[in-house]
């Protein structure tokens, strides 16, 4: 069933090839139908998902290249379930929104998007490192095409930068994967890339360090973590609306997912050693992203830098190494997907009408397009983490977890909450409030029926995830605890110098958590 979810978009993409180029309407319908079908199937996964076990469900496994010990192994657990759902949810919306704004070479556009969807879902469900790597790379190509062909003026620079930047990281990860397989061969006699087998490896700490470094570099570029983020604003600014939504909504999560699924459990000792560095970078990322976002003249760049800040939060949560922080991070990944995805849709809406992204070209839109302004306000509030909406639950858990792990990280992280409000509201005021200065704005038409259809599911989810997050958190609980138990077992002796209010209380909590996970 999982493979069906992965490969339906691919089949639809191939079907698209045979539809003649002029039949745009049919191509769009086929693509939309395929993505909706995938979404329904993934809902089926959600329904049948048991939240009381930590191990993988719906596992499908058959051998692919026996000589290398490579299997086609896919499966879902608490961590990857909602990320798959996020992907399958955003895709139909993207295709729906492209009905209005993409008119040249529609067939290729939809083809690349469907290919992209297969790559993304594959990355989240792959249990075999080789398969994961294949899907990880496969995602790059369609995305670069999308940015390169339908993008803005500097699209080629942005596409190439995105491709090469991510490729450097991922290729180094390939060498690390190969070394892992070799280690398994050395220790157990057989070469395998299966994640569960590789969990059994005992890797000496020094080798763990550089293996973790290789994985971490690749994922950090994707997240993006602070110093490696400069590709994001370019890619976002130049990408078409649908591209930006998926880039921000899902692709960034592949990095954080990679950390949680591969880098941390496979190399626990190294993960612990890396905590101070990554937490520092995450905090810098939060503040840096917020500050730079504040002064951006271009709407899309502002949202791009806000993603740097939000993902900084997610990394902070991940590396707090306690259940609250990690669950908060996972939850925030979903929230960010919804809120930033919606933000890019919103920017796309006015970009389609005015063909400019400069904040100074707008002003006083509320009077002209009240429904649009209201939707924008709700999405904005979810993005800055207003309680009652989904952003708050994620941010609160992350900061709670981070504070528990290292109070100073919590304190600096909280500043991100304030800065977030600053740049978002300042932008909102310059765009929505004030008098209608530019005459072109008076001709703006409010949201069309189709555009509203794109926002309704997103807004509804934001509200539901804010008011009643329990069903989501429950399903994540077991898998997160199991992963954390794996990491904590390799925890170095907590030297008293590191501040960590939760040291005492944490240990007994971990004991009973690890019992529940291992027995």
């Amino acid at each position: 069933m999982v493979s069906a979810v992965v490969f339906i978009p691919l089949c639809a993409a191939l079907i698209l090839l045979f539809i003649p180029r002029e039949e745009e309407e049919i191509t769009r319908r086929v693509a939309f139908g395929a993505t909706v079908l995938t979404f329904l199937l993934s809902l089926l996964l959600l329904v049948e998902f048991q939240s009381d076990t930590a191990d993988f469900q719906f596992v499908e496994r058959f051998s692919w290249i026996e000589d290398f010990g490579i299997q086609y192994a896919v499966g879902i657990d608490g961590i990857s379930l909602f990320l798959v759902l996020l992907t399958t949810l955003l895709m139909p919306l993207v295709i729906l929104s492209s009905w209005d704004d993409i008119h040249k070479r529609v067939k290729e556009y939809l083809f690349f998007f469907l290919l992209l969807e297969t790559g993304m879902i594959g990355t989240f469900v792959a249990l075999d490192l080789f398969l994961f790597y294949v899907f990880w790379e496969v995602v790059l190509i369609p995305m670069s095409f999308l940015i390169g062909i339908w993008g803005g003026p500097r699209r080629i620079y942005a596409a190439l930068k995105f491709l090469l930047y991510t490729m450097v990281g991922s290729l180094l990860m390939l060498v690390a994967i190969l070394y892992l397989a070799y280690l398994h061969h050395a220790q157990y006699g057989t070469v395998t890339f299966d994640l569960l087998q590789l969990h059994k490896l005992t890797i000496p700490p020094e080798t763990q360090i550089w293996l973790f470094a290789a994985f971490a570099l690749s994922f950090a570029i994707k997240v993006p973590l602070f110093p490696l983020h400069t590709w994001l604003p370019d890619a976002h600014v130049e990408a078409p609306t649908g591209g930006s939504v998926i880039l921000a909504g899902v692709l960034l999560k592949m990095g954080t997912y990679g950390f949680l699924r591969f880098a941390m459990p496979l190399f626990p000792a190294a993960a612990h050693a890396a905590v101070p560095v990554i937490m520092a970078l995450a905090v810098i990322g939060i503040i840096y992203g917020a500050l730079v976002a504040m002064v951006q003249p271009d709407l899309k760049k502002l949202v791009a830098y806000s993603s740097v800040s939000h993902l900084g939060f997610v990394m902070l949560g991940l590396f707090a190494f306690n259940v609250e922080g990690v669950e908060g991070a996972l939850y925030q990944m979903l929230n960010h997907g919804l809120s930033t995805g919606a933000l890019f849709f919103l920017v796309g809406v006015i970009y389609e009408r005015r063909h400019t992204r400069l904040i100074s070209d707008y002003g006083g839109l509320w009077k002209q397009v009240p429904v649009y302004a209201a939707v924008f306000l709700v999405v904005l509030l979810s993005s800055i983490g207003l309680p009652g909406l989904n952003g708050f639950v994620g941010e609160f858990l992350i900061l709670l977890g981070a504070f528990g792990a290292n109070p100073w990280a919590g304190v600096l992280g909280v500043s991100g909450v304030v800065l977030g409000a600053v740049y978002m509201l300042w932008m909102y005021q310059r765009v929505m409030f004030g008098p209608l200065r530019h005459v072109e704005n008076t001709k703006l038409t409010d949201l069309s029926r189709r555009e509203v259809a794109v926002f309704v599911p997103l807004l509804a989810l934001m509200l539901v995830m804010g008011m009643y997050p329990k069903p989501f958190l429950i399903r994540m609980e077991k898998s997160v605890e199991a992963t954390l138990a794996r990491i904590q077992l390799a925890r170095p002796l907590p030297d008293p110098t590191t501040p960590g209010v939760e040291r005492a209380g944490d240990r007994d909590a971990i004991q009973e958590v690890s019992h529940s996970a291992t027995d």
Binding site: K161, L164, Y165, P227, H229, T230, W231, L291, V292, M294, V295, Q296, N322, V323, E324, E327, G364, W366, K367, L381, L386, P387, G388, F392, V393, F396, L397, L399, L400, F403, G404, P407, G410, V411, V414, S415, V417, V418, A421, V422, L425, W426, Q429, M432, F433, G434, P435, M467, Y468, P469, K470, L473, E477, E481, V501, E502, R503, A504, G505, A509
Partner: protein
Amino acid sequence: MEHSHAALATVHAVSYLRFIVLFPLLGVLFNIFAGPRVGRRAINLVSPGVVLLSFFFSFAALLQLPPGGALVDTVYTWITAGRLQVDFALRVDPLSATMILIVTGVGFLIHVYSTGYMAHDEDVARYFAYLNLFTASMLLLVLGDNLLLLFVGWEGVGLCSYLLIGFWYTDDEKASAGKKAFIVNRIGDAGFLLGIFLLFWSLGAKGVWTLSFAEIQTHAGLLAVETVTVICLLLFVGATGKSAQIPLYVWLPDAMAGPTPVSALIHAATMVTAGIYMIARLHFLYSMAPTALAVVAIVGALTAFFAATIALVQTDIKRVLAYSTVSQLGYMFLGLGVGAYSAGVFHLMTHAFFKALLFLGAGSVIHAMSDEQDIRRMGGLKTKMPITYGTFLVACLAIAGFPGLSGFFSKDLILEETVASPHGSVVLWLIGTLTAGLTAFYMFRLLFVTFWGETRAPHEVAHHIHESPTVMTMPLVLLAVLSFIGGYFTLVPFLAPVFGGHHPAHVSALVKYLPTVAGLAGIGLAYQMYVRDPAMAERVAQRYAAVYRLLLNKYYVDELYDRFVVQPVVAASQWLWRVWDTVIIDGTVNGTAQTVAANGLLLRLWQTGNVQVYALSFLLGAMVILGYYLW
């Protein structure tokens, strides 16, 4: 001084408390979706109606409140993550009963008033949607059974104040006032969040994973005093943000940009009292941390005095009231700071009545003066607006602490406790008394300049000054009555089960009566300067020109913040973006690409095209390999 550990209240589970919050929310939905289509009359009926319904339910809860006990309505579990378990539960105990009655009661009156005030504003649906949303958030804040729900309400009211301040969004200046309010609140909330985290983890370190007030209270003893002090201070940072104390009060005066009923409801009666409610709710923590209490008291007293001095010279009617609110809030914090929690809450209640009345009165004056807010262009309204004048006079007397009215009882109770309680000190009492005098002075200055003497308004404004319609004056009268008799519902016995028993403080006569004398002196001085000898104010202003200008410009605090906080941050982010991001990081990224390409050009020259050069490079290669082997 109450002893802090009252017996644990007996708890009754009920299931109707949720409707108190739900009704305003229904009002919000009605206004958003049905509002624009259904016309003004329906909106004017529904919006106040839902608040009235909440009022009745609150009253029912009050009646059903078991003596010394509490009603708890657990709706569903909100967040479960690891060791954090937060339920969406509402709790009514004497403290929250008082608060919800104030919020729904005064709120209802203000809703009614607004229907008149916003009569000719076409966007009334959006206005009432925000107002109802505010009421819902405020009710959630006071009914929340755990710290997190309190925080949810806390930020909810922050959002509504942002929306309502910037209600007339077409004016950039008003919109930025809203933004300023939200951001300053957010700074406070950041502190609040840190307090919650520290509380959660330090309790967790002792094995207790909770955020609900009852459990915190039972396990508070486990915590070390230093941790509790830090927690209380962090939470107090949140309180200063929300209840506009030094240093985070700057947003309140600018918040006057919103419609006047908004100022009445949010910036006088309810929202700004959130900080006081929070400290009262966590009184058991604060009483464990004397240093924290001292800080609260000192900040309260200083803010009271500081704001009162600024109010002396303000010319905008709403600004005077804004600074007066900041000052009165200072009083409440002073009360809490000296351990007299019930006195603080009592003053909160009475203040809600007369300050709401003052704002609504000011609103009706502005309404009559066709949106003129500068008191120097008013005067002589006494005869033209008798009801507004009458109610305004009652409120002024109440706030000045005129004996017999509500202000006298609550303010003096605080001042007495400042001396009597172990946490209090005479210096604070002195500041309090001086501020009482100042308060009386600026209130009556406002009264005399606005209502007495001849109208200084230009002719066309003057001739159609008229009394506001009954829908506006009826709330004024009701509030006047409340301000009058409010003082006699001393909450102390009612709140005893929450804050523990209280034996009346016996103090010397001087302490008891000096504040009242100061008040009367203030009234007299105001009478002298603005009625008997109008020129006197001018002379005093010239003589102490420097001081006058300092006060008029609000100690230049806004300018200081702008220079030392806002500008540097914006400059830093410009630098970060222009230099750090584009030059340094992007530079290295593109740099590596260019160097590789440069090497490419270099290597390309190796292909000279001449066969013999190729043969030479071939030979060199061969010799290197041979050389390797011969050694």
